[in-house]
């Protein structure tokens, strides 16, 4: 269990959040099916610092971006998710729900 400092609510237990996925850019509508699938399925899955999206389900109900170390689970920075990127979230969901 880890503590995530929500940019809107302050430090909260990770149980309040849903993990969404690695932060990556959604390709344009003219992308080929193979590239789409690469975007959907391919993960960098690093052992170290990673930038990822979380959803504060039991808090402010907003998507946030966090920098987390996947070996120590330390969270060093969080920021609000900019609105215009929000369409990313749905495509990356999955695997995070328990």
């Amino acid at each position: 269990m880890i503590r995530i400092p929500c940019p809107h609510c302050g430090p909260r237990n990770s149980d309040e959040f849903s993990y969404i996925g690695e932060e990556k850019r959604r390709p344009g509508p003219d992308t080929s099916p193979t590239e789409w699938r690469t975007y959907l399925y391919s993960k960098s899955n690093p052992a170290g610092w990673t930038t990822e999206q979380w959803f504060h389900a039991a808090g402010c109900g907003k998507f946030i971006v966090a920098e987390r170390h996947t070996v120590t689970n330390e969270v060093r920075a969080t920021r609000p998710k900019p609105r215009f990127e929000r369409s990313n979230a749905g495509a990356e969901a999955g695997g995070g729900s328990s």
């Binding site: 993990y19 399925y41 391919s42 993960k43 899955n45 052992a47 996947t70 070996v71 995070g96 328990s98």
Partner: protein, 445 residues
Amino acid sequence: MGVARAGSDLRPAARRFIHLRGAASDGQRKTTTYSAFSLLRHGLTHEKWQRAWREHEVASAYDAVIVGAGVHGLATAYYLAANHNMRRVAVVDKGYVGGGGSGRNTAILRSNYLTPEGVRFYDRSMTLYSTLAADLNFNVMFAKRGHLTLAHNDGSLRTMRWRAEVNKLQGVESEVIAPEEVKRLVPFMDISSHTRYPILGALYHPPGGIIRHDAVNWGYARAADALGVHIHQGTEVLSIGVVDGKVTGVTTNRGEISSPIVVNCTAGWASLVSSLAGVSLPIITHPLQAAVTEPVRMFLGAVVVSGSLHVYVSQTDRGELVFGASTDPYPSYSMRGSLAFTEELASHVLELMPSIAKMRVLRQWAGLCDLTPDFSPIMGTTPVEGFLVDVGWGTYGFKAGPAAGEAMAELVATGKTPELISSFGLSRFGDGLLVGERGAAAVGH
């Protein structure tokens, strides 16, 4: 309790283990056969047992290098030597034999999956497991106890009927049974209708059971060693050489090895090892925690699994109850236990079996699960020639060890992907041909 086998503690422990297990090199000796007679002789004479496998110097070249000395890596090496007479094979591992997922799983065997490809594949593994003790001359303690997957709602009952029919078509024994029959198999189960998650029925899979996972690892290591395979513990792969899209070998902390074939048989580190060869995988790594209780007299015959309650329980031959749960809710390479896990697990188990409320948990631990988008593994070739993968084993790797090893060995030896694993290639993600096993493998998710 608390942290069990955390990552940072692993190395000194691994060194001690290696020192104890195989420090002496006794050259080209013959592996003695275990039998009732040899046991009696050793009991009477107190002579030292021969080491189960040897230590070797790392050679500069092998015909194949297998990364990861768990059940998959060791089985691949064993079948390469036994079925295809390829004996210049090295198995390298940065830790010790069976120290990763192969020693951290809950040792449940079953083949009642959802897709025909999955059922056929896991059934082959069950067949190999059935005779493994005799094949390896090593008691792997396979106990066919019967396997029950409980349904707590109409949706899961429907999936179970579906699974039962797919299983029967593939010749695998599997049937949906009523709560009363569940009670007959497991008398301690609460099948009353007033519980939070009442039991509506179960998928009963009689061939399912449990096995001693360490014995499987050690048995494969000993048998592979006897056939001339080199097992290098404490040998970490630092880089993988690729020239013109072809594998040339690996660099380890114990020197360079040239080899035309490198097989990635790691779990938990699959993405990291593959990235050394420049191959990207659709894998995310989640920890999964498990726990055992103090040993008590045998009372739980079958393996009991509940998808809705995210728990699976079995009783070992020693009498301990082994519990597994869902994967942790976010990806991580940390293998720390958490209080949240223990609390949730206890409440779910007591929901099913209130009578075990006073049993104490002895220890808990975590292992790493490489999850793929379709909950099926990835086996076969990659865009890099000579670099093969046997990865993405999520929560189902241990039960697949023998079949995966046999198929990967055939692929290495013949260069052709066996039909049994042809649906599980890495290219299926780009081609959009996923093998969806979520309905049968997702208890742990």
